[in-house]
Structure formats: structure tokens, C-alpha cells
Symmetry: C2
Subunit: 350 residues, 2 copies
């Protein structure tokens, strides 16, 4: 069997099964949570890494080096945020094609400096090697947390809520890909194809907001700590889309999550984009990945305080569902009927 036929979550189980004893000895071990927790003399440290591959997670044609540095660092820091932790420092592993220009690398590091400063994390070092393949980079983050919030702590009776708005990153990716095709068609003088690929029905402001959401996500570090203080029982970041990640929280917590599709906070520009494409905007938002918003379960009595405190720092918190005994995660329509939401991140190859 090829790796392309295997679900991403299956690969994690495969690793755990084979590693056996080598994976033991952690408060929270490999594959179970957004970050591993290791305790050293009473202090809890978080460890996480996130790999981005050119041609899979980004394209050089539409991802300028400073945006790549920002996005890659944000994605890794988001895993620390998901556990209500604080980053200590980052290491970076870079595999770069020999033919890449030195200017590209300089621009990458300049961008990394800005991003690291923005999120208050220091860059402790790394490894740079040449590669016959695409650009591949991994950020490793060492973080700390006093009271980590796991994805496995949701309890029946909890409210399910989400920070920010969803779907913008997915729409931004579509726009970037389409713009590339538009640009290529123009270069090839194929006006008819260029016409088809053009972005119509969106203002420049919409396009900018969506592209920005995709290239420059922000880890919800402060928000996560506030949610933890407001009694969050379970938390994770939305990297693979609400549809898939909610199922993961349900499975980890051994409960059933019911999410009312009508309450999912779709990003207004993403909503316009989805309509333009003839897609259901709420499904679009629920499927879309790389929003790096927080999915959180918390007791109903904590909701108002959490909403209020997050509003103070400009972050919406929207209740979208509830936790019950049972298993899985289900989306329901206005009449309580189940709505199937596909996840675009089901397979390793996807």
C-alpha cells in the first residue's frame, strides 16, 4: 500500500504502534495533541513542529519569501497557542534548491525577523541543506505552559465555540492559484482562458483580505491564554478545517460534538467568494483549512466572560455547538437535520 492511500491520522497511529516504548514518558505524547508535553523537574515544556513543502503547501510563484517565513512560523506557533502555551524559541530546518538565489534567502530571513519579533519568539538556530527537490522547511518550537489545555478534555454540557472567522484562508488560496493561472494564460496570450480565470465580483479589498488571511495568518497566542483562564476544557487550532478538526476533538475527548452550521462564522469576503463560485458559504467555511483559529469547548458559565475578554482584544468568539455523550462530530441544519461536510484534508496525498 502507498502512503497516498492512507489517512493522515492513520499515519500517526502507525507511528505510535511502531515506536512503542520509544514514544513513552511524556505527559502528552506524539500524535495525540497539537504539541507534545515533556516535564522536566516540574516544569511543563511544549514541543511541536510543522513542515511546509513547496508545491504541496505553497508555491514560490505566489508566496514571497517573507510571507513564507511568516506563515510557517505562525502555523507552528499556532500549535503552541492551541495548548495555551507560550513560545520560548524556534529552530528552523531549511532544504533549498541549489539554484535558488541568495536574495531569496535574505528576504526569507528578513521576513522571519519581522515575524519572530511580532510573535515574541527568538530564533535559536537551525540547519540549512541543499536539496534536489522543492523548498522544504520545518519550524520546531519549544514552548512552555503552566496549565495546558488538551483537545481531549471536552465534557458533555460544554459549549463549542470558535475564535475569529473561517474560510478566508481557503478563499485566499483559491484566489492565489487562480491568479497564477490567469497570469499564465495572459503570458501565453490565451485571452479566453485568462477571462475565465479572472477574479470577478470581488472588490480589491476582499481580494487583499483573503490573500492576507492565507499568507499571513496569526497564531492566537493571547486569545488561547484568556480562554484557558475562562475555564476552557478542550482546545485545538483549526489547521485542517473545522469539519476534520472537530471530529478529532470529538474522538480525543470521547464525546459527541454537534455543530450548528448556521452559526459557523464565515469570513464576509470568503462568503462572497463562495457565492461567486456557486458554493454554500457556510459549508465552504466549515471545510476550509489553515485558518489557525481556535476551536474550544468550555462550560456555559464561562462563555460570557470569554466573549467579553476576547472582544477587548478585538477577537470574536462565536458559540457554534454543544457537547454531549456519544462520539464523533456532526453538523446540523436549521431543522436539526444532519449536513454532511467533506474534508479536503482526508488523505496524506490531499
Amino acid at each position: 500500500m502507498r502512503l497516498s492511500e492512507v489517512h493522515e491520522d492513520e499515519l500517526v497511529r502507525l507511528a505510535l504502534g511502531r515506536l512503542g516504548e520509544a514514544a513513552k514518558g511524556f505527559l502528552v505524547g506524539p500524535g495525540e495533541e497539537d504539541a507534545a508535553i515533556v516535564e522536566v523537574e516540574g516544569r511543563k515544556f511544549l514541543l511541536t513542529c510543522d513542515a511546509l513543502i513547496e508545491g504541496v503547501h505553497f508555491r514560490r510563484e505566489w508566496c514571497p519569501p517573507p510571507s513564507l517565513a511568516w506563515k510557517a512560523l505562525s502555523a507552528s506557533l499556532s500549535d503552541v497557542a492551541a495548548m495555551a502555551g507560550e513560545p520560548v524559541c524556534a529552530l528552523i530546518s531549511l532544504a533549498l534548491p541549489e539554484g535558488l538565489s541568495v536574495g531569496w534567502l535574505e528576504a526569507f530571513y528578513e521576513g522571519l525577523k519581522v515575524a519572530a519579533g511580532e510573535f515574541g519568539v527568538a530564533v535559536a538556530g537551525g540547519d540549512t541543506v541543499c536539496s534536489p527537490g522543492p523548498i522544504a522547511l520545518t519550524f520546531f518550537i519549544l514552548g512552555e505552559c503552566k496549565r495546558p489545555v488538551l483537545r481531549s478534555g471536552a465534557r458533555p454540557g460544554d459549549i463549542v465555540a470558535v475564535t475569529g472567522q473561517l474560510g478566508a484562508s481557503r478563499a485566499g488560496l483559491s484566489i492565489l492559484e487562480r491568479y497564477l493561472r490567469f497570469h499564465r494564460a495572459r503570458l501565453e496570450g490565451d485571452d479566453e482562458r485568462a477571462e475565465r480565470e479572472g477574479i470577478k465580483g470581488l472588490s480589491l479589498g476582499d481580494v487583499e483580505a483573503l490573500v492576507e488571511a492565507h499568507l499571513r495568518p496569526r497564531p492566537r497566542l493571547r486569545e488561547a491564554k484568556i480562554l484557558a483562564e475562562c475555564g476552557a476544557t478542550a482546545m485545538m487550532d483549526l489547521s485542517d478545517g473545522l469539519a476534520l478538526d472537530a471530529r478529532r476533538m470529538g474522538r480525543a475527548s470521547n464525546v459527541k460534538l454537534t455543530i450548528e452550521l448556521g452559526r459557523v462564522p464565515a469570513h464576509p469576503s470568503a462568503e462572497k467568494f463562495a457565492r461567486m463560485e456557486g458554493l454554500d458559504p457556510l459549508k465552504f467555511a466549515a471545510e476550509g483549512g489553515e485558518d489557525y483559529e481556535l476551536l474550544v469547548a468550555l462550560p456555559p458559565e464561562g462563555l460570557d466572560e470569554a466573549k467579553g475578554r476576547l472582544a477587548e482584544i478585538g477577537c470574536p468568539l462565536t458559540p457554534i455547538g454543544f457537547v454531549e455523550e456519544g462520539e464523533g462530530a456532526f453538523f446540523v441544519g436549521p431543522g436539526g437535520e444532519e449536513v454532511k461536510i467533506a474534508s479536503p484534508f482526508e488523505h496524506f496525498g490531499g
Copy 2:
């Protein structure tokens, strides 16, 4: 300018220059040492990562998955050893071609379990993504150390010594590459080419020892702690070959290292291999990389104790030179004349 035109050490300086403030705040920061040191409330932690790329650092045809896991983990742990540290745990970032078999990945994790058990390090997790390119993996190690030995501490009057024997890994790599060509020629029925590529003049025992040295290096974790206890002033691991790494120690310590080529402990099987190839065995050993032995500077009065204690655990320690005021690292022949040694690891693309 392309990256292939830039010296590896230049890339490190480029990163440091661009990162600026983002790279500050460490006892020992990015690119200066084998691992970065970060202090958290009085405890010193080591952070390091090491990337291996298929087609650059190994080939799937001659590197079975368990050996790859072993070698990659060893190379990273060797950076922790180089600072006299102890590993706490490892994270792994894996970029894998979609078409790779699940069996490959299973064998890799099985091998990782064995290696992690052997070196007493736990695997805390990681990230696995698909890639249109070659297999790329990075191990990230969190370690601890009470009194790190830096590469920058060598002082005039110190002895320069090296653990183990050198050149075996380089010879092993040549044999693996040659066997691949031999095998291909045989497959293509080109007996004349196969004859040329065949390994002659080496016993099966020699071949096995050299291939084992390349595929299954061992980080000198215990040895490094003993050397630290015996007063080592500077230490680093030999990953890019004695010729290049000695220059790095000289530069970091702001001293001049003189190494007597005749005292370099060449591995006996590597010596046979080099002679067979018509090469100078000592130069071959001094140039060769990936030995993961320790290069150490220590005061003369610490040498006997260090030799004795390392001998007890089966590790030779050979004095090969001395430290003086000045700069650089020089190899000298029997009459004290300088011998130029090229490094095969000069360029990013090499």
C-alpha cells in the same frame, strides 16, 4: 548569486546578519555552535536539528529505512554530545513521496524505536507530510547540559585530540555508491563496467565495517561527558571532516590549531580502501566527513586521565596536535611542512 556558489558557513553568517535581534537572547545562538543553548530559570537546555535529504545525504537504494532512522538520529544526537549534553527527547519532521510504501515507513519507525532505545532518547512526536520531491527528514533534539563545552574555548597550550578512528564513513559511502553502480552495470549486462566497479582488495569484514560506519554511526554521548569532566576546553563533533571542522574550531576559539597529519588515526579498513584507490590514507581520513567522532582541545595535564577513562569504555583518544596563539587550522607533515588538505564539504552544493 545562487546558493550553490556560497560556502555553507557563509549562509550561517547571512542568517545571523539578517535575523538580527530575533537571534539574540541565547547563551549560545544560531550557527555558532553544534547546538543552541537557551537558559530557562537557571537550567541550560540544548536545541539542535539536522536535516537529511535523499539524493544529497543518502540514497534509498543503499540506505534501508532502519539505517536511515539510526543515522539521522545519531547525527542529531552527536550535536548534543559535542557540547557534553544529555538528550531529553526528539521530534521528527518527515517529508515523504506519496508513492512510498507504507512498509517503508513501518520499517523506518521500527528502526527509530531501536535507535531511540539504544541512545536513551524518547520520541516526542513530529510532523509527516507528503512531498513531490525526495525523502527529507529532520530530527530536532531537546537536550540538557550543566556545563556545556563550546567549540570556542580552545586556549594556547592545549592539546588537540580526537576520539575513535577517521575515514571509515567516507570509505563506506564510496563503497555503497560503487556497489550501486556495480549492481546497475550487472543489471544492464555490462560485465566490463561491472568489473571496473567491483570492490577488490577488501575482505568482506572490511566492507562490512566501512558500510556499518557510514550507515550506523554512534553519537559519542558518554565519551563527551568524560572529556568534559577531564577539563576539555573546546569540543565539537566531526560531521564535515577534520580538515573543515578543525578550521571552524580555530576560528571560533580565535587560536591556531596545528595538526600532525601522521598522528591522525585512520580507520584500518579505510586505510586499505584509500590505498586501493591510490589515495593518501591519512589525507583521506582527514578529509572524510560523517565520522561523528569528537574533536577536543584540553590542557596537557588532562590528557592521561581522559585517555584512561575513555579506554575503559573502549574508545581510543588520540592526540593529534596542539593549540597556539594565531588563527586557522594547519596540517603538517613529518618535517613540520604544511600539507594542504581539501575539504569535500566546502560548498552548499557539495
